[in-house]
Homo-oligomer: 364 residues x 2
Amino acid sequence: MSGRIYNFSSGPAVLPEAVLRRAQAAIWDLDGSGIGVLEHSHRGKAFMAVLERTEARLREVGRIPDSHAVLFLQGGASTQFFQVPMNFLGGGTADYCHTGVWSQKAIAEAGRYGTIHVACSSESTRFDHIPGPEATRWSAAPAYVHFTSNNTIFGTQWRQEPAVPAGADLVCDASSDIFSKPIDVSRYAMIYAGAQKNLGPAGVTLVIARKDFLERGSRELPTMLQYRTHVGEHSMFNTPPTFGIYVIGEVTAWIAEQGGLAPMAELNQAKAKVLYDFLDGSAFYRGTARADSRSLMNVTFRCRDEALEPALVAQATARGLDGLKGHRSVGGMRASIYNAFPMAGMHALVDFLHEFERAHAGAR
Amino acid sequence: MSGRIYNFSSGPAVLPEAVLRRAQAAIWDLDGSGIGVLEHSHRGKAFMAVLERTEARLREVGRIPDSHAVLFLQGGASTQFFQVPMNFLGGGTADYCHTGVWSQKAIAEAGRYGTIHVACSSESTRFDHIPGPEATRWSAAPAYVHFTSNNTIFGTQWRQEPAVPAGADLVCDASSDIFSKPIDVSRYAMIYAGAQKNLGPAGVTLVIARKDFLERGSRELPTMLQYRTHVGEHSMFNTPPTFGIYVIGEVTAWIAEQGGLAPMAELNQAKAKVLYDFLDGSAFYRGTARADSRSLMNVTFRCRDEALEPALVAQATARGLDGLKGHRSVGGMRASIYNAFPMAGMHALVDFLHEFERAHAGAR
């Protein structure tokens, strides 16, 4: 591990070590240009090559059709929370699936621009599951339908897209599980994702969206907030976050080297299974999400005796298992195990949890 | 130079090599934490320490008083072009000093939110100078006064702030000369700067602004677009661009190691003088900016025989003098020589220009 520890951070999060090595070299000299990646003009040949290859890799790995634009924006999902309704709501009604803190924030920002119809919600059971079709009521003609594909705080994840009415435009906040499994992009009007979990560093937002959908956005907005601006200028209307785009390109190349999204999904399944199987077999711990809704990216769990949790987190940290403390709004533990998190770290965690259980269950 | 060449890019631009070496190490392991700077949770201790020390260094080097907040935002100056008037104009009148392409863009975006009074302009002479007080007419009670401290495309720079009426709130786009010389922050309601010239990589916007001014902003805006949100949350309302903040901290430490902003200004003066003196003594070349308005950051010049310019740029590039082509809207040459550009590169450029002149002036 060369002095590195296991990083269970929910994001920014662990990146492939091969990518870090490439980034280190590129910071001094990008592609033999004699100039580092941080220092290249965004309009020069060297960075233009980075931008083009990054988009090409994303399109190949994600099977993104030509109908959809690929944009590199800034401001994270928090900016998309208002930019989407600002562009597409215009006083109408949009349907939101409410599955946690992030959908709550998206709903709150959208409310400034029209009527928000909460089509389904798991709030009454503390967001422990993803609502099914039987618990979902769509409005008559929503401007779009919005859902959050993975919920980092409550450890839940949609198994498949919500079954929207025919013709509805589906918008997804995929910040925390994008490219963790194959995705049928053609089903979506828009997918947006902050890069800092599965794609790269904080500070880039990947937007994949149908060009004709983006073209429908309001023209009564600042130039920067109209998506069409960035489609027309290939994300180069202003200086883009060049280094973040470079890293996304290298992460996407790394995914391709692993065989693409299908093998990535198998690995993620296998990694999560190690921990969920352990938790299911334990009387000392318990998972917090309903089994049918469990996230493969963020495994949330508790000690049955919650008073033991601070000691658990502290001992784990001392053992080089970092970032296991749950979100401050829910407590408990959370193991975030995005694409780049290694299988060896799963076994190290389970070994530690087993040991902690023996030490504390036996003592009473 | 270890394989690196002279980078005259107008931004993203050359960074101190000592900073690049530190960034390379931090990408693998930040401060001995066992986790790289790209991968650390923004809410963890390691990154919080980075955020705190970066702000502390900025405050010390820039002598930023407690009256002013220091924010790390996203979206570049292009986002500030609309965010400033969206917050502070509210149907009123703001005064803009019009000195080039960037002020033009700022004026265009602001026009959506009120009346723009162009207090002064150098447009009639192709933006070759900074208008003086005698050519400036302020409106009666502007909501704020906006100016662009350095104009990258036309190679002009304000020697000092415009002499605004007493009580007027001065807002400055300092993207291309921030921290190139001492600045009296107390004179400003707001200074904003994209980081990618003197401060760090593209993707972070530094905002230094009076807290009481920011508090005056509209409350009828998306949460992300209200400056007060970011003041209250210390730039941590959402995931900030963590790596960019780290690099800004290292660049600011490097400035401090050089002795601070006064020695930095002396070095910048000396660097620019090498090139301007050469141009002034040549009958072959000519500077494009009026002598009293010349930029110390971007030296714009032409061959008197403009047909020679493509050959000049090509030969310079082949000699390891990269990025000398002028902005596509004006042509000619531009040497961008921000803080981190080394004096040795100035002499290398002048030697080359002298040689090119001999080869081509002698031939005719």
